[in-house]
């Protein structure tokens, strides 16, 4: 670590991507989904319902401009002009996140639809753990929501809760999963649900001689139990899929799936783009109904 640079343990990599085999000029309908979350934002560009390009970046404090920034980041990977967009759907945390969208649709509807695309029509239960919320959804084979439950009041179990701990323990967030399994025996979960109290409890454990990895494991376990109880309240129907940033955290997800007793579905796509994919798909459905922008 360079001298004088404060390490930001919560930072993960921002990225953009384009499919090298798709040429946007061949597409009939180009639709864009933009998901502005409290912590991260994604833009997905679809050509006739296929993923053409996308971008994933931190929302930061400038959320009114986040939509613009992430769309620009996605377009940068392509040579497509923005005016070629036929429809734009905005989604995400809060009310109006995407000022230039043709329509706003809630995250619940978009995540279920997006999960159906990136995981396949067998998915029936979707869990999304994002920066500041936990969403559990049940859907049918078309990705339509039949049951949902969302918690965005309490940080316990969310990405922010994990970031607070990564920071406390001085572990980069991308290493949390692996480090949490570098233990001889699985410790009991941290007893406090509340992140603020769990933090004090963790400090006490470190003082008692627990290793960083043991405390991390105890917290990941507590987070898994917390998410589990929410998901159980709604009910789990196979197949089960996970979207959102937390899907990348093995430390929590492996422990959670052990409790649920299922193997989660796999995808080649970045799990954080599910919401934006669903949004872009709703845009495509609306274009097919003749509601696209006039040229």
């Amino acid at each position: 670590m360079p001298e004088g640079k404060k390490q930001e343990f919560w930072r993960w990599d921002e990225s953009n991507w384009k499919d090298p085999d798709i040429d946007w000029k061949d597409a009939k309908y180009i639709t864009v989904g933009i998901d502005v979350g409290s912590v991260s934002s994604q833009a997905v560009i679809m050509t006739d319902g296929q993923i053409y390009a996308y971008a994933n970046m931190r929302t930061g404090f400038d959320s009114p401009n986040s939509a613009r920034n992430v769309l620009n980041f996605a377009l940068k990977a392509t040579d497509m002009p923005e005016e070629r967009m036929d429809y734009c759907v905005g989604t995400g945390y809060g009310r109006v996140n995407v000022p230039f969208a043709d329509r706003s649709i809630t995250e619940i509807a978009c995540h279920a639809r997006g999960a159906n695309f990136i995981y396949g029509p067998e998915v029936r239960t979707v869990l999304d753990v994002g920066g500041q919320d936990i969403k559990a959804m049940q859907c049918d084979e078309k990705g339509k929501v039949t049951n949902f439950l969302m918690n965005d009041k309490c940080a316990a179990g969310t990405g922010r809760g994990m970031e607070v701990f990564a920071d406390l323990l001085g572990i980069p967030i991308t290493e949390v999963g692996e480090r949490s399994f570098q233990i001889d025996e699985e410790p009991p979960a941290v007893s406090n649900t509340c992140v603020v109290y769990a933090k004090s409890e963790a400090t006490g454990l470190l003082r008692k001689g627990w290793s960083t990895e043991q405390v991390l494991a105890a917290y990941c376990r507590a987070m898994a139990e917390r998410i589990y109880s929410l998901v159980e309240r709604m009910g789990v129907i196979p197949e089960f899929a996970i979207t959102g940033g937390m899907a990348k955290n093995r430390g929590v997800i492996d422990r959670l799936m052990a409790k649920i007793g299922l193997d989660p579905m796999k995808t080649k796509w970045d799990t954080q783009i599910a919401g934006a994919v669903g949004a872009a798909l709703f845009g495509y459905a609306l274009c097919l109904k003749g509601k696209g922008r006039k040229k």
């Binding site: 009310r95 649709i105 809630t106 619940i108 509807a109 339509k144 929501v145 039949t146 049951n147 949902f148 439950l149 969302m150 918690n151 965005d152 009041k153 309490c154 316990a156 406090n192 649900t193 509340c194 109290y197 917390r226 109880s229 929410l230 309240r233 709604m234 709703f282």
Partner: protein, 96 residues
Amino acid sequence: MLANYGYTDGSGDYFITIDTDKCNGCGECVSACPAGVLEVLDDDPNDPLREEPVAVVGTNKRNKLKYECNPCKPSIGRPPLPCIEACKAGAISHSW
């Protein structure tokens, strides 16, 4: 669709569930609730394809349900909840 509005925190689980298959958007629950927790919307934000109005828990209320619903839930001698009584379709339930 079962819409579960609310949250869990360190002190408990607080959810109001609205069964949108049963709800017809009549709005009786809205008038019955003294805390203004419920609203009726023409478009279901979670079901873009629904044609009927639907009852929802207000966005600015759902993270305070424990606090908002407190007056209707005294510790002793709790009467039937006004929102549940008002709904003829039986679409509303509380988790606490």
